[in-house]
């Protein structure tokens, strides 16, 4: 392992993380809901009537956040290296996996760990491990 000090962004990452924590706190303190993106999206997609407008509005806020960002400053770098076959497979796995696993990086990784849920801590260890292993296999075994 070697650390990539050039691309390491400790302060903006910590500050961005704090904003994510603030958003999750606001959503639970005001709305009584977990800010889990896959759960909110899955619920909206299932046409659940419970809390539908709040869920849609949260997702809408997420969607328009880059437009607000872009109105004030330059957009951060966004680079997608994967080709379309990989994007399709990855998207399907993320969609099915987060619904079976009842959450993703936000719902389990941030909110679940914060409320010390054993299920969320287990889920986070599983998807982190699978993420590390997948990148290892692709970059260092297959060598793509």
């Amino acid at each position: 392992m070697s650390i990539d000090w050039i691309n390491f962004t400790p302060w903006t990452s910590l500050a961005g993380g704090a904003l994510i924590g603030l958003a999750a706190s606001l959503f639970v303190l005001a709305n009584g809901r977990i800010a889990g993106i896959s759960g909110l999206l899955g619920s909206v997609l299932r046409f659940d009537s419970e809390g539908r407008s709040e869920k849609v509005l949260f997702l809408l806020g997420l969607l328009i956040s880059p437009l607000l960002w872009g109105a004030f400053t330059v957009m951060p770098e966004i680079e997608i290296k994967a080709g379309w076959p990989t994007l399709i497979i990855a998207g399907l796995l993320v969609g099915v996996g987060t619904r079976y696993g009842s959450g993703c990086t936000s719902g389990h990784g941030v909110c679940g760990i914060s409320r010390l849920s054993a299920r969320s801590i287990t889920a986070t260890m599983c998807f982190m491990f699978a993420g590390f292993a997948t990148v290892y296999v692709i970059r260092h075994v297959v060598g793509a």
């Binding site: 392992m1 650390i3 990539d4 691309n7 990452s13 910590l14 961005g16 993380g17 904003l19 994510i20 924590g21 603030l22 639970v28 005001a30 709305n31 009584g32 977990i34 800010a35 896959s38 999206l41 997609l45 509005l57 949260f58 806020g61 969607l63 956040s65 880059p66 607000l68 872009g70 951060p76 770098e77 966004i78 680079e79 997608i80 290296k81 994967a82 399709i88 796995l93 993320v94 969609g95 099915v96 996996g97 987060t98 619904r99 079976y100 696993g101 936000s106 941030v110 760990i113 409320r115 849920s117 054993a118 889920a123 599983c126 998807f127 699978a130 993420g131 292993a133 997948t134 990148v135």
Partner: protein, 140 residues
């Protein structure tokens, strides 16, 4: 009021992802590449988020109502079952393939990067597929 707070929570969440670098799939993959030139930044995203959220979420866990009087909607499940573990492993593989998880996927959807539309459509198809499988497994 709760509609306004929901909207602002989503907006702040997205701004946080953009500031943190988490909305950049290449940076996410650099974080997941432990054996390569490792960029540890995203560990600090999770650390920063948890540091801020831990007190509010634990307060919420012990209360039945939010500050605005909405009922607390917390997951009730406790058991560590195969669905949780299998689903999370599948999600992690997908995350490792493209460096994109659901929050960043929606956050960068309107930034004009064409490839993200393919990912989001596939993700929605995956969620829809889950709904179909659930419905056929448990007919109402």
């Amino acid at each position: 009021m709760i509609k306004l707070t929901a909207f602002f929570a989503g907006l702040i969440f997205g701004l946080g992802l953009l500031l943190a670098g988490m909305a950049n799939p290449a940076k996410v993959l650099a974080f997941l590449d432990l054996a390569g030139a490792w960029d540890p930044s995203l560990a600090l995203v999770m650390g920063g988020a948890i540091a801020v959220a831990i007190i509010p979420l634990n307060w919420a866990r012990k209360n039945k109502q939010s500050l605005l009087g909405a009922p607390m909607q917390f997951p009730m499940k406790r058991e560590l079952d195969s669905r949780l573990i299998g689903g999370s492993l599948l999600f992690g593989i997908g995350w490792g393939l493209a460096g994109i998880c659901p929050g960043p996927a929606l956050t960068i959807l309107l930034t004009g990067h064409g490839q993200i539309i393919i990912f989001v459509l596939a993700m929605l198809a995956g969620m829809y597929l889950f709904n179909l499988l659930e419905r056929s497994a448990r007919p109402d």
